[in-house]
């Protein structure tokens, strides 16, 4: 709870095992707060988080020794180069000597920064800094990897590369991926948690979430002038302008228009339906 009695997270319960958990929700839903609490950076005013049965508030070091964390906003020391920064972070995380050097070399290859390893970090682009962030999160071979908006600032190729890496890492560890980019979750997550207004809306598999909107996604073509009316009346998932008009994609129980045809749902359709249903339930 923030000062002013605003709850960032409330009635939130979740149990996780190995795999990638995609954490999605609208802005201000509480995703970053949850990540910070899980990473022991913020202490919850109430409630309990356990890691292998140990309360992380009481013994944060039990978790942090096995934690890799990439915050949403982070910085680097601009006068150090990539190797020096990772060596510093490795020392702070208790990894030194030959194993540290070998790990850093591997990580620089993984995040594709070998060529730039001796450049001062102050000269790095946003995407390169993000990749350094990813590398430092993996330094200690974490059992729990928490990444908050990890693909922000990455170019499409690097994003694909990172998604593959996450999928590979997920084998024997818990990965929590918070993002606004549903396609990242689609590509990597084995489980999904949707949160809104600090509450857990659903915790399920992407397949189950997709199944919940099967037969509820419709598409048809409308003139541009009718777009505003469709937006008002239906839950619009996408609108694409083409030569024959605007192709609208709508999530609805019933066929919204005589010309509408049912189409296979995407995870984004399912997410929008889930959030919309939660908002309606909260309003009534």
């Amino acid at each position: 709870m923030y000062s002013g009695k605003v709850w960032a997270l409330k009635q939130f319960s979740l149990e996780l095992g190995p795999g990638v958990l995609g954490l999605v929700g609208p802005n201000g839903a509480g995703k970053t707060t949850l990540m910070r609490i899980l990473a022991t950076v913020t202490r919850a005013t109430e409630g309990r988080i356990t890691w292998n049965g140990v309360d992380t508030a009481r013994s944060p070091d039990a978790l942090s020794a096995e934690l890799g964390y990439l915050p949403q906003d982070f910085g680097v020391y601009p006068n150090l180069n990539a190797i020096e920064f990772l060596e510093y972070m490795a020392a702070v995380r208790g990894l030194t000597g030959r194993p540290a050097r070998r790990r850093i070399d591997e990580l620089l290859e993984v995040v594709n920064l070998v060529e730039a390893r001796k450049r001062p970090l102050g000269s790095f682009s946003g995407g390169m800094k993000q990749r350094i962030g990813i590398a430092q999160a993996l330094l200690n071979d974490p059992k729990l990897l928490i990444v908050d908006e990890p693909t922000a600032g990455l170019d499409p190729e690097e994003r694909v590369h990172f998604r593959n890496l996450l999928s590979e890492l997920a084998g024997q560890r818990v990965v929590i991926l918070s993002t606004h980019i549903v396609s990242d979750v689609e590509a990597t997550a084995t489980q999904m948690a949707v949160i809104s207004h600090g509450r857990l809306v659903t915790h399920t598999s992407p397949e189950a979430l997709l199944k919940s909107v099967a037969g509820k996604v419709w598409e048809w073509v409308i003139p541009s002038s009718a777009l505003a009316k469709v937006k008002e009346s239906f839950l619009l998932s996408a609108a694409t302008r083409r030569s024959d008009g605007v192709h609208v994609r709508v999530v609805d129980e019933k066929s919204p228009h005589p010309d509408a045809t049912p189409i296979p749902p995407t995870l984004e359709d399912a997410y929008l339906d889930c959030i919309s249903a939660h908002r309606e339930a909260a309003a009534t």
Binding site: R36, A39, T40, V41, T42, D61, S64, A65, L67, Y69, P71, D73, F74, G75, V76, Y77, P78, N79, L80, E84, E87, Y88, M89, A91, V92, R93, G94, L95, T96, G97, P99, A100, R102, R103, E106, L107, E109, V110, N112, L113, E115, A116, R117, K118, R119, P120, G122, S123, M128, L138, N140, D141, D155, E157, E158, V160, H161, N164, E168, L169
Partner: protein
């Protein structure tokens, strides 16, 4: 009209942003304490053996002079972050895209600076009125004699300081810690040169003007009067004689001399507007060195480094396109044995972090000081050189405890296991090592001279500096507090050999077991305070 509105909103937003901070509350607390100290006569103004009867004119003058001294020094450090904050928060990049011109922007910032300092002066003006009742010698409150020194002595001086703070912030070289240190020397110059110059146009703080006019009155009233003006913490049971002073006759020429400083302030803002880069480091008149994508200077020192540098310079181009085509690199699992904490590794990492940001000339000067220390006899090195040897790394120490927040690496470091027990003591010890390395010439001289007391004082000084820096950095979140406090302490203690404040024990006379014990205790207390502060940050 539009410009006035822009200025008003710019200054108001900046003013509100600052007065709503915790640090401003602390500044107000210090101000109230100063007001109290003047009221209860701990801080006083005197002319030779004379002090004025506590009427409105005298209490107003005394408080206004204290306000001018205090706010012109502390106020500068309080307000010198307005442009810097826009750079740090990246609001500046948004402002740079708006039609506001550089002069309007900087003038608004200077107005906000003056507004913040004016609030402090207002608090002290109220304290002056309270002080008149407290003293109880003359209960008639006369507003003009009470307030005129605040309006015509303090405010013009502070307008100059407000503009100077903006000017410092527009020059990349003076924007950071170096500017903070330089200002102290400038302030000492303003404080001492003004009254001595006997020229009102060089007397920013107005003390020369006050002294000369008050002395005329004193000579007229008291033919046997002799002595100079003194203000500060005047201790002892000295009994002062009283004289009646009814206030200044503020003639137009005197008022003009004071208003002249508003014009100087405006000229300074004009100059700052010429030099200001408008948040584009590539465009500024005096450009800051950007962090080059090329190799650092020490890469040129050895052939093998040059080869590595050439390979690096070829680097970045191949990165992006190759990413998707590259085969997946698999990470080898780490054995639990690899994750074994080594204190020496963290200490070395901290030391490297501290020293890496220094430019080559910093090392040249440091080496010069080291050689000079070795070339001089022990007592001379200790007395004359140690203060300068331990002034040189001030910006290294002032970064302690603030680096994580400043570079936004706090979440990365605080989420590491045992961060408080491992990284934090290493950072403190690295600060001590910097002090020992810098002063190693003096220490060696003391060792050769078998001056064990001097060596002990040296060790305590090194530990005290690091503890002070870390505590102030962690609790203030900025290096400015340490820079300001350290330089003032350094000037009074080690430079002027004030026995109680000489934490470097620069002479056998400054060394006593009592003072030594005090600094040992203070060092451990400060380290404890720093640990508490860091614990609070980690558990935030």
């Amino acid at each position: 009209m539009n410009t006035v509105r822009v200025l008003y909103h710019l200054a108001l937003a900046d003013f509100l942003e600052r007065v709503r901070r915790y640090s401003f509350l602390l500044t107000l607390a210090a101000t109230v304490y100063l007001g109290y100290a003047v009221i209860v006569d701990d801080v006083k103004l005197r002319f030779g053996d004379y002090r004025g009867v506590n009427n409105s004119a005298w209490v107003g003058l005394q408080m206004a002079m204290c306000a001018t001294i205090f706010v012109s020094l502390a106020g500068f450090y309080v307000v010198k972050n307005t442009v810097g904050r826009d750079i740090q928060t990246r609001v500046g990049q948004i402002l740079a895209t708006t039609p506001i011109d550089k002069l309007d922007y900087l003038f608004g910032k200077a107005l906000s600076n003056l507004g913040v300092m004016a609030v402090i002066v207002l608090v002290l003006a109220v304290a002056a009125a309270v002080g008149q009742f407290w003293a109880g010698q003359d209960l008639r409150v006369e507003l003009w004699p009470l307030l005129a020194p605040f309006l015509l002595i303090a405010l013009p001086a502070l307008a100059f300081v407000a503009a100077l703070a903006v000017f410092f912030e527009t020059l990349p070289g003076l924007r950071g810690g170096f500017g903070n240190v330089m200002y102290f020397f400038l302030w000492v110059f303003l404080l001492t040169y003004g009254p001595e110059a006997h020229n009102a146009f060089a007397d920013c703080l107005g003390f020369g003007l006050l002294e000369s006019h008050l002395k005329v009155g004193l000579y007229a009233q008291l033919p046997d009067y002799h002595g100079g003006m003194g203000i500060g913490i005047l201790t002892g049971l000295h009994s002062y004689k009283s004289f009646l002073w009814q206030g200044f006759a503020w003639r137009i020429d005197l008022v003009s001399m004071r208003l002249y400083w508003f014009a100087v302030a405006f000229a300074l803002i004009l100059l700052a507007a010429v030099l200001f880069d408008r948040f584009d480091p590539a465009r500024g008149f005096l450009r800051v060195r950007p962090i080059s994508a090329g190799p650092s200077w020490w890469h040129h020192l050895a052939p093998w480094r040059r080869r590595a540098a050439t390979a690096d310079a070829r680097g970045d181009g191949a990165m992006n396109g190759a990413a998707a085509r590259k085969p997946m690199v698999h990470l080898s699992p780490l054995s639990p044995a690899a994750l074994r904490f080594r204190a020496a590794a963290v200490l070395l990492a901290e030391l490297r972090l501290m020293l890496k940001r220094q430019r080559w000339w910093w090392y040249v000067v440091a080496a010069g000081l080291l050689i000079a220390s070795l070339a001089n006899p022990a007592q001379e090195a200790r007395r004359e050189l140690l203060p300068w040897v331990w002034l040189w790394p001030i910006l290294i120490w002032s970064a302690m405890g603030t680096r994580e927040a400043r570079h936004q690496t706090d979440e990365l470091i605080f989420s590491a296991a045992h961060s408080l027990r491992r990284q934090f003591p290493a950072a403190w010890l690295a600060g001590v090592i910097v002090a020992v390395l810098m002063g190693s010439g003096v220490a060696l001289r003391l060792l050769l001279a078998r001056d064990w007391a001097g060596l002990l004082g040296f060790a305590v000084g090194a530990v005290f500096i690091s503890s002070l820096a870390l505590a102030m950095g962690v609790w203030s979140g900025t290096g400015k507090l340490f820079e300001a406090v350290y330089i003032i302490w350094w000037y009074i203690g080690p430079v002027h050999h004030d026995r109680n404040l000489d934490f470097m024990f620069t002479s056998p006379q400054s060394f006593s077991w009592g003072v030594l014990r005090f600094y040992i205790l203070a060092a451990f207390l400060l380290f404890g305070i720093a640990v508490l502060g860091r614990r609070r940050q980690i558990q935030a």
